[in-house]
Symmetry: C2
Subunit: 331 residues, 2 copies
Amino acid sequence: MARKRKSVQEYASGVLAGDRVMLAQAITLVESTLESDSLLAEELLHAVQSHGKQSFRLGISGVPGVGKSTFIDAFGTYVCDELHKKVAVLAVDPSSSLSRGSILGDKTRMSRLSVNANAFIRPSASGGTLGGVAARTREAILLCEAAGYEYIVVETVGVGQSETLVKGMVDFFLLLMLSGAGDELQGIKRGIMEICDALVINKADGDNKPAAKRAAAEYRNALHLLQASDSGWIPRVATCSALAGEGIADLYTILDEFERAMRLNGFLDKNRAQQQVDWFNDLLRSEVLRQFYQNEDVKTDLSTYSSQIALGELSLRAGLRQLRNKYFAKP
Amino acid sequence: MARKRKSVQEYASGVLAGDRVMLAQAITLVESTLESDSLLAEELLHAVQSHGKQSFRLGISGVPGVGKSTFIDAFGTYVCDELHKKVAVLAVDPSSSLSRGSILGDKTRMSRLSVNANAFIRPSASGGTLGGVAARTREAILLCEAAGYEYIVVETVGVGQSETLVKGMVDFFLLLMLSGAGDELQGIKRGIMEICDALVINKADGDNKPAAKRAAAEYRNALHLLQASDSGWIPRVATCSALAGEGIADLYTILDEFERAMRLNGFLDKNRAQQQVDWFNDLLRSEVLRQFYQNEDVKTDLSTYSSQIALGELSLRAGLRQLRNKYFAKP
């Protein structure tokens, strides 16, 4: 996207002042893959850090059809209007890594929130790897917080890896579900239930209420088989009707309880610091591996070796020794 | 351990002939961390490969007290005596990476199997990292199979990472559980239930039978919430009493059903080939990273950077750029 460059100071002061247009442009800057933007983005992120504003980061996942948009529209509007907090909605959209599509491309999906003065909605970064999309979303979070948004909602779609990435950038991870539909249809991938802090059965309205309650009990039972996470928090199961606006306040109470407890026991800060360090180590590991695997000779050798190994023609020891001798200097 | 070196040919022919003493010495050789042994081990593994003997690899996990030894003793004896198959029992013991202890150090734990002419019991490799222990166990599996052992049982204790490693070296992963005891006490780590092909409630005898049946139903319910694995196999839940020898034959029927189905649909071979390739890639990635992180300057920089990042004093972009410029040549 072509745009007029601003100075780091212009971006930074605009963001810190809560200027929505500047915030949007700043996010575009950190999302840019242009080498020429990268240093500017780095300086911007440095300039807006340690602003001392407090925020809560909420991750939300669920398969298409579960009602994520309606839920975020209702929940975000509640937080904006009833609790008078500024809400930012971001997204990590795996499909955006492949297609150019975005699960938040169409703001009309959140008709009320998108026109709320206290809300900022940003489509998913697109293009690049899922990891790259996630990395840019992490930085968008930092910019939104610098702009004074107190409640950051990160939406993703239920496809396994993206949940794990979002889990690593939020304080609380919420999984939206439906009763009725087969669980495979709901795309519960192995391990996703293990990372959620709350599992919410949506569309618990009308004739669907009893089924939703039953499903909630079933999931409570399943979650109860899992160990508590490091935070000591036991995952909650709740029901709600985003459409009817039922259960939203109760759900907020759960989130509030979590936030208070985790600020009190220091887990919130500890977890965020750990997330940062983990993320840095992930990025560094990826970079180290990228530097190795981008080597053309390595690519050729690997495809040859892999097929020989799959056929049982090459032992792993031999393959490893040959590659070590070829690409690494003796200690 | 001091020992007289033999030639690769001596080891290989001994192993292929099913000589138990030679097999034990061959495993000791591949377990050796001596540089001088490594090439010999590589040649040995090469010499015994593609022997064309068929085997089934069974992984078994469960926390101490669940009765793994009694179970393996009963199950192994059943396979040896009733089905006339040769059974090898190996172990991946996380504690052996730390202490020198081994969950299979004391063969008297399997009093019947340890004296069975058709059985070969090998304590866990000890020392080194858990990954190292697992790597040597993988090679021990290959040697046992070359020696004609048709049923390979790999035992591990329920501590998360070791299950994943064992899952990656077996055809079927079985989790032993107890009814009654709190699930935390049973150490169900997040994700372990997701990787097991069968969950078996042991000690289903006497007064404990009803509780075991209830627990089985509960777990069936929980497992039912998970997607089927790539093999198309739906995890089974069963009960047994290793002590009374009840349920062992039924359990074997399940394993037999799995083996037949997976040989028929080709998953067994496909999975093993994939496991080999995955393992090779794991080893290579570890090697690439090891080569980088063993650098003294890198160590120093990382500790400095990590603490600055945890304190929010350094942005990830800046840290990454600095390390990239310092340690990698420009493309």
